[in-house]
Symmetry: C2
Subunit: 227 residues, 2 copies
DNA sequence: ACCTGAACACCGTTCAAGT
DNA sequence: ACCTGAACACCGTTCAAGT
C-alpha cells in the first residue's frame, strides 16, 4: 500500500546482501533487536518483505552477517589502538575496551549474536589476533588456548550481556536499573546486613567500571600464572 | 479443540502463580525458551491461553519469576557445597560451579533471564551471600563492591551465554559447534598461522574447562590484589 | 472471582504468479 | 533473474461475554 520510489532511503537499483545488512544494522541501532523482522526490513528497503529470501536462506543468516560486521568494527579499532609491538596486556585491553564500545554503539546487534560461533571471516581474524597476542607468553599449547578462549569468551559474554541490557525496552530497563535504590535500599538491616553496609557503593558503581575491573583482574591473574 | 480434563498434567483446581511458573519451567526445559509462549502455556495447563493474564500482568513478569526460581536453586546448592566457615575462594568456587550446573540443568531459563536485575527475593539473597563472602578480604568498600559485582556479573554472563548456546535449535547448535573442525581447520596456513599451530587444542578444549579456568584466573587476580 | 473466545496487530517462511 | 502477494501457522495482549 505504501508507494516507494526506487530511491527511497537510497536503496540500490537491485537488492544485495550488503544493502540488506546495512539496513538491518541501521534498523537495530534505531529501534532495537526486536524490530529486526523480515517485514520491517522490507518496508525499510522499499521492497516486498519476501524479496529478502532471494538473498539470504533465512533470518539467522542475516543475524550472523550483522554480527560479522560488528566483529570487523571491533577488530579494526583494536588493531589501531594497540600495535603488534605493544605489551600483550595493552593489546588485550584494546580488544576488550573496543568490545565494550561496540556494546554501546551496536547494543542490539551484539545482543543478537554474541553467543554464536560462526566461522565467518572477521571472527577468524579475531581468533588469529588473540592467539598471536597470547602465544608469546610461553605457556603450553593447551594453556595458550585456554587463555585466549578465556579472554575471548569473557569479552563476548560481558559485552553481550551489556548489549542485552542496553536493548531492553526503556520502561523495563529503567525498572531494572532502579532496583538498587527501589528494592535493595529499603531491605531490613537484620536480614541483609552486608547489603545495607554497602548500599551507597552498590548504587554508585557503574557497569563500565565493573567491566574495566574485571579486565584488569583477568590480566593480573594471567600475570600471576605466567610468573 | 483439545478437550482437557481438569486434572490434565496434574493441574490444580484453579490456576496459581506457582502452578504457572512450574509449568513454564517444565516447558522451557523440555522444548527450549522459544516454546515459552502464552498459548503453549495454556495448552500445557489445560486452560484458555488468556487465563494467564489473571495471574501475571504480562509475559515479562513470568520470565522474571522463572529466573528467581533458578536463582533459588543456585543459592541453595552453593550454600550446601561450601559452608560459611570455608575459605572465600572455595565459597566463590561453589557459587560459580553451581551457576554452571544451572546453565546445563535450566539452559533456557538462564538464557531468558541472566541479563535482568529483578530485585526479587532470591536475587537479594544471592547479593547478600556474595557480599558476605567478599567483605572479610579487607578491601575498601568500593573495591568490595567491585569484586562482588565482578564475580556476580561474570557468573551471570558466562552461564547465560552457555544457556543460550545450549538452547540453540539442534541443527544450528551443531553447525556452530562444528565451525572449529569445519572452517578453522581448513584455513590457509599463510594467513592464519597461529590458528593453524593450535588447531588440535582449539578443537579439543571444551566450554566447561574454559569456564573453570576463568574462575581460577579471577580468584588468582583477586588474591594478587589483596596481597 | 475467574475463565473463555473473538479479535487486533503482528511474526517467519513458502510458493505460485508475475515482469 | 528477481520481485510480488496471498497464504499458513504462529505470536502477545485486550476486552466483552460468560459461569
Amino acid at each position: 500500500v505504501a508507494v516507494a520510489s526506487s530511491t527511497t532511503r537510497g536503496r540500490a537499483r537491485t537488492l544485495s546482501r550488503e544493502t540488506i545488512v546495512g539496513a538491518a544494522l541501521d534498523l537495530v541501532r534505531r529501534e532495537g533487536p526486536q524490530s529486526l523482522t523480515v517485514r520491517r526490513l522490507g518496508t525499510e528497503l522499499g521492497v516486498d518483505a519476501t524479496a529478502f529470501y532471494r538473498h539470504f536462506p533465512d533470518k539467522d543468516a542475516l543475524v550472523l552477517a550483522v554480527g560479522d560486521h560488528v566483529t570487523r568494527w571491533v577488530h579494526e579499532r583494536a588493531q589501531a589502538a594497540a600495535p603488534a609491538t605493544a605489551p600483550w596486556q595493552d593489546r588485550i585491553r584494546a580488544i576488550m575496551r573496543t568490545g565494550w564500545e561496540a556494546s554501546l554503539e551496536f547494543p542490539g546487534a551484539l545482543a543478537l549474536t554474541f553467543s554464536r560461533t560462526t566461522g565467518e571471516i572477521e571472527e577468524r581474524h579475531m581468533v588469529e589476533l588473540l592467539l598471536e597476542i597470547v602465544e608469546p607468553l610461553g605457556l603450553t599449547p593447551t594453556q595458550t588456548v585456554l587463555v585466549y578462549r578465556m579472554f575471548g569468551d569473557a569479552t563476548l559474554a560481558l559485552t553481550g550481556m551489556n548489549g542485552m541490557v542496553q536493548s531492553l525496552e526503556p520502561a523495563i530497563r529503567e525498572k531494572d536499573a532502579s532496583a538498587w535504590s527501589r528494592v535493595y535500599a529499603v531491605q531490613p538491616h537484620q536480614e541483609f546486613p552486608a547489603t545495607r553496609r554497602h548500599m551507597r557503593e552498590l548504587i554508585d558503581v557503574d557497569d563500565a567500571a565493573i567491566y574495566e575491573f574485571t579486565v584488569e583482574t583477568l590480566i593480573r591473574g594471567v600475570e600471576a600464572l605466567v610468573a
